[in-house]
Assembly symmetry: C2
Homo-oligomer: 313 residues x 2
C-alpha cells in the first residue's frame, strides 16, 4: 500500500474567541496559557501559539463587534486596503494573517485549530475545507477514535481556499472544532471537558506523526454541505413565522426525508420537508438567524485516505 | 372554610421582549396580535394589552441596550427625572409605567404576565414577589395542574413592592413566566408551545375566577430565594476560573448538600458546596455572568392559600 510522505509539523496555533460569545475557546485558551506558565512549553510536542482572536468581542461577550470575524479570511479581504472606516474585524483578520499566515504561503503556520461553539446539537464536529488534505482528515480519524464521550463527525465545505472565509484557512492544515449544544455566553463543563480532550488528542496525534511512524489510512465518513434552508418568514416583517419542528430540533446529522416535519409555525401548523433525503446540520444555531439559515443540508460521503508518514526535514 | 373575596379582573397585559434576546415572548406576543386580527378580542375573557417591552433591544437581539430594563421598575427609578443622559431603559420603564401602571396605584392594570427565557433548566417557573398575593398564588396552582408537559414551580422573591425591580411589579397581580432551557437568540418550538399553553391557562383561570365561582385553596410549594453564589474567579482578571460542575449543571431545584460538587475549575479540580442544604436555581444562566451569579440558593416552603371568589363590582 502506498504511503504518502508529508513534512514534519513544526508550529500550531490554538485559537479561541474568534466569536466572542463562544465560551469554550474563550476559557480554554487561557487555561493552555496557565499550563504553559506552570509547566513550560515542553509539555507540548509542537511549538504552540495561543490566540484570543477577537478581544473586543470577547470583552463585550458578543459574536463580533462590526463584522463576523470568521467571514473575513478570504484572500480578497486579507489583501484589501485599510482605511478609517474599515470594520475592526477586517483589521484584526489582517493582523492574524500576519501572525499566523500569510495565507497560501510557505510561511503559514502548519496547523490552526480554531475552537467554536454552537447552540445546535452538533457534538464535536471537525470542519475542514479539504477533501484531500490528508493531515486534516487523519486528525479527524484520530479524534473520532479517541474522543468517545460525544459523537465526533466531519463536515466538509467545498470552497476554494482563496474564498475560504474562516480563520483556520490561513494555515496549511486548518481545522475548526465545533462543540455543542451550548448557549452563547455560557460555559458548560461537559463541553469544556470534551474540547480539552480533543485539543490534547490533536497534540497526541502530532507527536505520533512527527515521530515518523506510518499512520494507517482507511475510510472516513464526511458530511458535505450542499445548501441552507431558511425559516419561513412573515412577508411583511421578514421575521421568522415558525420555529424548527420539535421532531427535528436537536436531531443534527439525522436523515431528513420528504414529508418529514421541518418547521412548526407559531400558529401551530407543521411545514414538511420536500426534497431529496439529506442530513440537516447546525439546526437552530442562534447566530444563523441573521444569516437566513435555519439549518444546512449535507450529503454523507465516505472518503478513502491514504497512509501517511512524516518526512524528516 | 373562609372564602376571601376579591375584585373581578378587568385588564391584563402579556409582555414579551423585556429582555430582547429571550425569544419566546418576542414571538408569542406577535402571535397573540395575529390571533386578535384574525378572530377579534372576543376570544379572550379579559381586556388584553400586548406589549413588546424593549423594542430597541429586540431589534439588536440583545438583553438590553444600556441598562437591564427588568431592573428599572423600582419606585425610585420610575419617579426619577429624565435628562439627556438617562439610559434608554429607564425612559422606557417610565413609558411602560404610564401605559400599565402607575405602579402601586388603583389605576394599575390587574395582571401583567411577563414572558422570559433562561439558559438554565428551569422548566416553567412562575416568579412572584408576593407571599400573600392570592391571585398570583392561585394562578401558579392552576398552571401546575394544567401544564403537564414540563415541571412547573414557584419562585418567590422577598422584596417590598416599592423595591421590586421587574416589570410585573407595576401591576396589581404580577407574574413573570420563566421558560428554559433555551439559548439567548434562539426560539425552540417545545418551549414556545408550553409558554403558549401557560398563557392560555392564565386566561382560562381568569374566566373561571371572573365567573364568580369559589376557587378552592390548598397548599402550594414555593422556592424562596435566600442568596446567590458567584463563580470562583481569577484574582487578577476577575474572569471565572471554573464552570458549574457537570453533576450540578441542569439540576435546578435539586437539593444541594454540603460536600456535593458545585464547580469544576478549568484546570480540573472539583469545588464542593459548603453550607446548609438548599435548592439551587437559575444554574448557569448566561445573563448572570456579568451580575456575579452562578446560581441562586433557595429554601423550599409550603404556603397555605385560602379559597377565593370574585366579588362582582
Amino acid at each position: 500500500m502506498e504511503v504518502v510522505t508529508l513534512p514534519v509539523l513544526h508550529r500550531m496555533a490554538v485559537c479561541g474567541g474568534t466569536h466572542g460569545d463562544e465560551m469554550t475557546g474563550v476559557f480554554l485558551v487561557p487555561e493552555l496559557e496557565r499550563q504553559r506558565r506552570e509547566k513550560g512549553d515542553g509539555i507540548w510536542p509542537i511549538a504552540l501559539t495561543t490566540v484570543l482572536s477577537n478581544p473586543r468581542a470577547i470583552k463585550e461577550c458578543k459574536r463580533y463587534v462590526e463584522k463576523d470575524l470568521n467571514r473575513c479570511f478570504t484572500s480578497a479581504l486579507l489583501s484589501s486596503s485599510i482605511t478609517d472606516s474599515t470594520p475592526y474585524e477586517i483589521q484584526r483578520a489582517q493582523e492574524l494573517n500576519s501572525l499566523l499566515g500569510p495565507k497560501e504561503t510557505e510561511d503559514a503556520i502548519d496547523i490552526i485549530c480554531d475552537l467554536h461553539n454552537t447552540t445546535a446539537n452538533m457534538g464535536l464536529t471537525v470542519i475542514s475545507y479539504s477533501f484531500s488534505n490528508w493531515v486534516c482528515l487523519h486528525l479527524f480519524k484520530y479524534l473520532k477514535e479517541k474522543v468517545t464521550t460525544v459523537p465526533v463527525r466531519l463536515m466538509l465545505l467545498d470552497i476554494p481556499i482563496c474564498d475560504a472565509y474562516s480563520l483556520e484557512s490561513v494555515s496549511k492544515y486548518g481545522i475548526s472544532l465545533e462543540a455543542g449544544p451550548q448557549p452563547q455566553g455560557v460555559v458548560r463543563a461537559d463541553i469544556f471537558n470534551f474540547m480539552k480532550e480533543a485539543v490534547n488528542a490533536v497534540m497526541d496525534w502530532i507527536k505520533i506523526f512527527n515521530s515518523g511512524q506510518v499512520i494507517e489510512g482507511g475510510e472516513v465518513e464526511s458530511y458535505m454541505v450542499e445548501k441552507s434552508i431558511d425559516y419561513p418568514r412573515d412577508p411583511e416583517t421578514q421575521r421568522p413565522s415558525a420555529a424548527v419542528h420539535p421532531q427535528l430540533q436537536d436531531q443534527d446529522f439525522c436523515l431528513l426525508k420528504p414529508g418529514d416535519p421541518m418547521f412548526l409555525t407559531f400558529s401551530g401548523e407543521t411545514v414538511k420537508y420536500e426534497g431529496e433525503p439529506r442530513h440537516p446540520i447546525f439546526i437552530n444555531e442562534a447566530a444563523y438567524y441573521e444569516k437566513g439559515i435555519a439549518f444546512h443540508l449535507a450529503q454523507k460521503k465516505n472518503i478513502t485516505i491514504p497512509s501517511i508518514q512524516a518526512k524528516k526535514d
